[in-house]
């Protein structure tokens, strides 16, 4: 009898110890497709090899909005992932979701992790109400790519790109070429109609999108971008298009990229994340690509640019073991070695200071100065409520509203001031509708 009890006891202890030793499995949903996705998987594999007690299962969940959409569905279905990559403008929605653990909790508890090693511009964006909610993963900001070869042809100095709006417009004029019939065969500048650029130009002028310090001290309740700074952007953008030195590439990024790649436009407003692709296109098309920081309006004090891209959020699974494992993984991704690897493999710049230093000493930036500009501009930015970027619940909608307003202006449906006012009124309605849910 006793022998049996002993045997059962032994078997149970063995089983229990096996359970303890069994690795924790966590799920990670990301929005990185193609080569970027392969890079994520490579990092995940490396983590799994070096951390035998944790198994990370990474899955591509579609575009940024699809990833958010799938996360919502998974939360409703009671089976969410542990870590999810969410785009910048989803920040307020995630804060309000009631399903996440602010990473500040782990940063406070874990003495081995020094959050100050992350660049302040990146921390600033994901901090609200004094808490760091998520950690940046793939980070970008806007820059202007320019065709140095065409600059030379137009008699412009390719090593001295414009820094102010008036210089910029002057360059656009010089780079625009018409044929004998009066049709434009080469434009000075092109860009998609993308609301993100408007937000960036507000930050360049150190102007706010929303009240309550851009929604950073408490929830944003009013849009305040209908101000001189906003109007300046609308007027400038409209002026470039109506005067024929810029071609409106329409919605999205691809058309504008195509126009720049085929040398039909000499300058392109785009994200830093495309730097690798741009250099490759330049090589294939036999022209030299330069990268310049966003020029700013004359006489307006410089603010800076806002970090874009996406960050990593931890879902509250009510399972300490899994949460701890998820934190290990996030922490590992943020560390210098992984950031160097990620940055070199993708074109997203590293957000870890030590990673930046390491890449610099390796001579990468000396060899590829275009990559330096992409991160230099961000580091030169002042960390203010304006450059930390606005956060608001219905941000995806507000961004689209600004895009609509721009199109209405380009098509002479509205004057710049009417369009801007219309956008702000719409944004206020959208804010009110969203905020009413949390009163």
């Amino acid at each position: 009898m006793w022998r049996k009890v002993l045997l059962v006891g032994m078997v149970m202890t063995l089983a229990a110890s096996l359970l303890v030793a069994a690795p924790v499995t966590i799920r990670f949903w990301h929005a990185m497709n193609g080569p970027l996705g392969q890079m994520v998987q490579k990092l995940v594999n490396e983590f799994n090899q070096t951390h035998p007690n944790i198994v990370v299962k990474a899955d591509y969940a579609g575009s940024y909005s699809e990833t958010l959409s799938k996360t919502i569905a998974a939360v409703k279905g009671g089976n969410p992932p542990d870590i999810v990559q969410i785009y910048d403008i989803g920040t307020q929605m995630m804060i309000d979701s009631g399903i996440i653990i602010p990473l500040q909790k782990f940063i406070d508890e874990d003495k081995t992790f020094d959050v100050n090693t992350l660049i302040p511009q990146a921390r600033g964006y994901y901090t609200a109400n004094g808490k760091l909610y998520s950690l940046p993963f793939n980070s970008s900001n806007p820059v202007i790519y320019y065709n140095k070869t065409l600059f030379k042809k137009a008699g412009l100095d390719p090593n001295n790109p414009p820094t102010t709006w008036s210089q910029f417009k002057e360059a656009c004029k010089m780079l625009t070429i018409k044929n004998s019939k009066g049709n434009t065969v080469q434009y000075g500048f092109t860009s998609g109609v993308i609301g993100w650029f408007f937000e960036q130009y507000m930050a360049v002028q150190n102007a706010l999108m929303f009240n309550n310090e851009n929604g950073r001290v408490s929830r944003a309740t009013k849009a305040i971008f209908d101000d001189p700074a906003g109007l300046r952007i609308f007027n400038f953008w409209n002026d470039l298009i109506q005067s024929g030195v810029m071609i409106n590439a329409g919605p999205g990024w691809d058309n504008a990229n195509g126009i720049f790649a085929s040398q039909k436009a000499a300058m392109l407003l785009d994200s830093t994340s495309d730097v690798g692709m741009m250099l490759k296109q330049g090589k294939e098309g036999h022209f030299e690509v330069g990268v310049m920081a966003l020029p700013h309006p004359n006489g307006v004090p410089y603010g800076g640019v806002i970090i874009g891209g996406a960050s990593l959020w931890m879902i509250n699974t009510h399972n300490t073991q899994r949460e701890q494992a998820a934190w290990e993984f996030i922490k590992w991704l943020e560390s210098p070695k992984q950031q160097v690897q990620w940055s070199k493999g993708t074109g997203y710049f590293p957000i870890n200071k030590n990673a930046l230093t390491r890449i610099m000493h390796e001579g990468f930036y000396a060899e590829h100065p275009q990559y330096l500009t992409t991160v230099f501009q961000l580091l030169m930015s002042n960390v203010t409520p304006a450059t930390r970027g606005g956060i608001a619940g219905p941000f995806p909608q507000i961004r689209a509203t600004v895009e609509k307003a721009l199109s209405k202006m380009f098509n002479h449906e509205m004057t710049p001031s009417q369009a801007l006012k219309w956008a702000q009124d719409q944004a206020n309605q959208e804010l009110q509708e969203y905020n009413s849910l949390y009163q």
Partner: protein
Amino acid sequence: MTRKLISYLLLVPTFLIIGLFIYYPAVLTFQKSVYRVSPFGNRNIFVGLGNFKTLFTSQSYIQEMWTTLLFVAVTITVGLTISLLFSLLLNEKVPGIGIFRTIVFSPYAISPAIAGMLWSFLLNPVVGYVSYVLLNLFGIQSHWMTTYPAALIAVMVATVWQNLGFNIIFFLSGLQGIPKSYYEAATIDGAGAIKKFFKITLPLLSPITFYLAIMNITFTMFTVFGVIDIMTQGGPGNKTTTLIYRLYRDGFIYFRTGMASAESVILIVIMAIVTFVYFRFVQRKVHYR
């Protein structure tokens, strides 16, 4: 009695699946349409008919209704006419007709996203083939995706092109179902080609045309948002946003579940009315042999 019971039993799985995947979500849609719902569904506020009121008092929604009407009317009329013409040609007995049929049918096999990409490459204002040809032959600088009505026309063309294959296949099978003897008799009576087309072909094709019209309304009203999303994103301004594209954006880009549900309900009602009117009044004019 047992036969009846067994037949009902055999229907149970079908009803289960329909109930679970069609009726249950539909009921939920009706329910959600009277709420304002937070993106993660953790907050719900009962707003009664508030969502509907917001929609019907919003200028943009009314504008989108007109856009949808115009979009559906034009794509169906133009689409069916062109398809009929093509199928008349493809019904001829010429060598290699199978190859032509395959070529004409192939757009239907392409996903809307790819079709959208294709057309936006073609219509790119500077590097697109269409723009290039227009510029070099006629000196026209066109801005297809960024001006109105060019953008709406561009989206319509892409939609018509995409549905072409489907329509042609059905028209072709309809044409082949018409007995040759009718035409022979008409020839003997001295009827010309045009008279034959209007007196024989068109009436005898009416059941197929009727079916295709209903199918096309359903397609264009309920599924054409891939092409719009890729080509214009509903722009410029709001000019190419149809009701279904608006619903997609509200539901999956802006996460306004309540509003999107209200829009679904409106679409369900519109579709019910269209179907009713069509079966009640148009079907009378359809000739079945």
